[in-house]
Symmetry: C2
Subunit: 310 residues, 2 copies
């Protein structure tokens, strides 16, 4: 059951130095989600060996081109490939007429059901929640452009049966479900066995937060508190903090401040300005504040390992 | 004064085998023109070392995504780069609302004047004509989707003065323009010298025709007759001719038939279906009909040399 993020593109608006606009794929078990979809994402999927057949939703943070200009091409290619599986796009409402207009001149009905669900930038919103995962959106501060971040986290799982032990005590098959739910059960002789002697705590739920694009927003710590992996934009170095402020972006140091303040596990920084060919200084200034920082370099995969709960 | 075509992408709708959707750049002297603009074209320009600062017009053949989904990103990046030079887009009228809608949520006024001039698929139309070049559109047959090809050709130039000879006869500077226009002029002693003794015929005007996407349309020979370089789509091999017919595309052999029938100089075939990883059979079947055929492979540059006129 992997829980991992593949970086397809991590540059800001202008592609440069072989770096592409924003897109990532989050794999949670067998389920795939995309975060933003800059131009060329469909080619980047192939180059990064990500097979999008199981993609179930695409989250679009905002309608600046470097975050969504690849969407219509991807949706179009899914149609040409004969996709059947439904797909949901969570995005600002203004995306819908854009897609409709582009597709009107392109082809008729898609080969698969496509649902576009509008996001809004008011408070924390649950986009979906099921037995495995929940996904939420939350407002960022990207100036006049409505922009949301996304938080995807695993739901608390069931207790894990120690199969060897349970079998040796002759626990009935019908009682296994009770064990998973934390109940005590009888052994073969009818003696009650304590649940904690036969099970381990559920795996700790894993979580990922995606924050791009935003000015430094300290209040985000209330949302991203304790996530295992935080992606936060770091368009500029601290030396260019005035540019960051002018354009509602963050510096690498600011991203690290948020990470430190929120007690996250690891920080990924990305959305780099085309001003910087060498990203080492951005990494260094972030690591000075929050050592567990990494560059969200394209093609890289960042996995959150399973960890014991409680 | 080069006259050459750089292939940025030559695959059909689905990117495959590292091949990208349609886009080309025609360089005529110092002037640059783009033909179609599939997704990722702005990245392809960088990869193919084409600097688009001097791009003056973009021709869009039709509104299938693999021919224009890269346009808005390119226009957007020009803005971010602070482009000042005006740009003209020739495209089906339906493109305009698409661009307007996408740009509305993206940014305010562009940094450069952008003009979108609607094409239509009725007969041969002059898009522009100046002292160096003329560009025309002409209808293709891509089924229900209005689609045009484009023809760009040099205007007839002036006669070329043989400088050494003219100087040795002491032709006045003021008479040089008369020589270029084909008139006889006096030498230093006042004797009339025949123009043809001092000048060479103008270079033969060079021409390029772009035909993508289209079913085999033999009447195109009236338009592309004698062009130096003809690009014609060859989405399918002849063995898949039924697919070509169903989808209003051509086979490699059909492209070659048109080339042979039109007496063109060279044929480039492209817009290859993702069915074919190996393109050698398509090339072979075209060359069997028209030997001067080449694959429009990405990154390649096809130049039309200057040739003596008359």
């Amino acid at each position: 059951m992997p829980f991992q993020v593949t970086i397809l593109g991590s540059n800001s608006a202008l592609p440069a130095y072989g770096r592409h606009p924003s897109s990532q794929v989050l794999q949670a078990g067998e389920r795939l989600f995309m975060l933003d979809c800059g131009e060329g994402t469909q080619m980047r999927l192939a180059e990064c060996h990500v097979r999008p057949g199981k993609l179930e939703a695409i989250f679009i943070s905002h309608l600046h081109g470097d975050h969504y200009f690849g969407l219509v091409g991807l949706l179009n290619s899914f149609h040409l490939l004969g996709r059947v599986r439904p797909l949901t796009v969570y995005a600002p409402a203004e995306l819908l007429p854009i897609l409709e207009l582009q597709m009107r001149y392109s082809k008729g009905a898609l080969s698969y059901p496509l649902e576009v669900i509008p996001t809004h930038a008011n408070g924390l919103n649950t986009l979906f929640s099921d037995h495995q995962l929940e996904a939420l959106s939350f407002p960022l501060n990207h100036g006049p452009t409505p922009t949301t971040g996304f938080l995807v986290r695993e739901r608390a799982g069931e207790r894990r049966i120690q199969g060897e032990k349970a079998r040796s005590l002759g626990i009935a098959h019908a009682d296994m479900e009770r064990l998973r739910l934390g109940l005590d059960v009888p052994d073969a002789a009818g003696r009650i066995v304590r649940n904690q002697d036969l099970t381990l705590a559920p795996w700790k739920p894993r979580s990922y937060a995606y924050c791009s694009d935003t000015a430094y927003l300290p209040s985000l710590r209330e949302v991203v508190q304790g996530v295992d992996l935080l992606y936060h934009e770091a368009t500029y170095a601290e030396a260019d903090a005035h540019r960051a402020a002018d354009r509602f972006h963050s510096t690498a140091r600011q991203a690290a401040l948020l990470a430190a303040d929120s007690g996250v596990g690891r920080l990924l920084i990305g959305h780099f300005s085309s001003r910087y060919e060498n990203l080492a200084p951005l990494l260094a200034e972030a690591q000075a504040v929050f050592p567990a920082t990494e560059l969200a370099l394209e093609g890289q995969v960042f996995e959150v390992e399973k960890r014991e709960g409680e």
